[in-house]
Amino acid sequence: MASLRCLLRSGKTAVRAVLRREFHGTPPAAVQVTVRDALNQAMDEELERDERVFLLGEEVAQYDGAYKVSRGLWKKYGDKRIIDTPITEMGFAGIAVGAAMAGLRPICEFMTFNFSMQAIDQVINSAAKTYYMSAGRQSVPIVFRGPNGASAGVAAQHSQCFAAWYGHCPGLKVVSPWSAEDARGLLKSAIRDDNPVVFLENELMYGVPFEMSEESQSKDFLIPIGKAKIERQGNHITVVSHSRMVSLCLDAAAVLAKEGIECEVINMRTIRPLDAEAIETSVMKTNHLITVEGGWPQFGVGGEILARIMEGPAFNYLDAPAVRVTGVDIPMPYAKILEDNSVPQIKDIIFSVKKTLNA
């Protein structure tokens, strides 16, 4: 009763507070969710929503997933919907594509995208190109997902980034989530998309918790494929990145902010179709651009972004050449000191920002 009198005395703001249900000052129901759990929940919900969705890959069922991303799904959905495959990527990727052609909606997991190279013909020639070759008669609603890029100490054959390889091909959508919210919303969109989607996760991000809003926990929370997100607003320089590197960019931005340099950090979210407009709009505001990726420099994601900026309206707004921060142009070494120096570090991003701003 006393609080009600208090409320009536406090006027407009209080009413708004009531309407937001902040009567007792409780914040909205946000939770901490790891990327792994976000992916797991997204798959669980989509499996429940549509009977045609199923998951196949190595160790996805009884082992609960090599990285535990599919934990609990086999127990809940059984052998028909969660299928363990032999170690035969070319075969099971082809089987997944065929199933998609015949009316199902498979999620094909590659234990890492390095192994997708064994199956890459099925991804490109059987999945990506078929809708075009058939002039719209035959669609292929499939998701290829798995961890991509460098991990920790797994050496050259297990550390390659495939964003540029898949990003090159028309007929594919290529998605690269960073946060738990990205993972959830983009995976749901990918599964509901009627086209082949390559979904590039990151092993080092699986265990990282993020705060997720109440809205993002809804069963129909979808993030549109092809739209980037500005993770941090800034006026001095545009920093474009995807996947795990977004974390490093934000860390670098925090350090730079102390020196008065405000970075606008853009999380690409999608590699193909690339949200060039978001990047251009930002560059036209900040006049400076760097891209940051884990993959190799030559013929890569950063190269594509720079080319688009050159060809588009934002070029005239650049006060300095746009540059790329990338992995070192070598196969990934094993020893920790070598591995650490093979991928961009926060100091490399800071260095590149400062160089670009002084140039």
Binding site: P86, M90, G94, A102, L104, A135, S139, D194
Partner: protein, 393 residues
Amino acid sequence: MRNMLAIISNVLRGTASRNGARVVVSARTYADFTPQASFDIKKCDVHKLEEGPPLQAVLTREEGLQYYRTMQTMRRMELKSDQLYKQKIIRGFCHLYDGQEACAVGIEAGINLTDHLITAYRAHGYTLTRGGTVREIMAELTGRRGGIAKGKGGSMHMYTKHFYGGNGIVGAQVPLGAGVALACKYLGKNELCVCLYGDGAANQGQIFETYNMASLWKLPCIFICENNKYGMGTSVERAAASTDYFKRGDFIPGLRVDGMDVLCVREATKFAAEHCRSGKGPILMELQTYRYHGHSMSDPGISYRTREEIQEVRSKSDPISMLKDRMLSNNMASVEELKEIDVEVRKEIEDAAQFATTDPEPPLDDLCNHIFYNDPPMEVRGTNPWTKLKSVS
């Protein structure tokens, strides 16, 4: 009408000997023909099977005429394509199927249109049996907008309902076919998938990966190896350590079938379909067949085999001749009747070729369409940064 024909027939019968005279105006009634007959067919070699398909096949007159018409249509269509290719009206790849007609027709006779089928690039025959028309097949070969894939696919990329092409990458269609079979099992509609590949593809690793999974998961898949003795220019003996393709599935039961006899193919397919539909899992059939043309139109086909060999197959084992002889010698059709079918087929092919050469090419604004399905329209970069093209689903 019937009475009149009967009267004329009686008159003519009186004046000409039954077997010898070639009466130009056919006056024989339906009652004169044998409605159906039983034929001995070659025994199939079996692998991991207690028994094979039956040694006799019953052929009705209707079936015979239909198989004849379809095979003849296929033959003429391929020969016409050969002509058009030499006139440079068809370009690029063109892999012709003449000689192998009994395979496509026999297989279709053993399954239903609701079943599924996938093959490699020698696909024109299957496009026809799976519901495509000669017109749209030929217009696809000539790259016109009336083609079955609107001119965007070409010879190797033709699709119809429950027919998944037409695939250019050797062997890749086999896992795809098993995937279709997985969907059949998953959706529980008692459908199966026929998954074809050649003797050349039979050595591909992904096929063995597929055998493994199809068998593990008991997928309703009929694997069929069309063994026409040559993978492009390489004979089977030079390519395969084991040319018993029907045994290469190892743990998968197999049949070796005379692929030049449409009845043999049909009975084997029925046998295989029964095996799949009863939930026993996949089965493998090797069809021993022959292609008259080279591997493709750029291969004359005589550098790695002799003209005599080709001629011998033509004279002794031609699938259309074999069916024709069977029907005629069992009084199931008349020479005139079959000739009439030939005339009709020829006309159909001519019409189709006419369409295929006069239909316009696809419009340029179709260039960027069909990238994505069910997506809002989007922009596609042209050859230079100023050219922005439109793509709709």
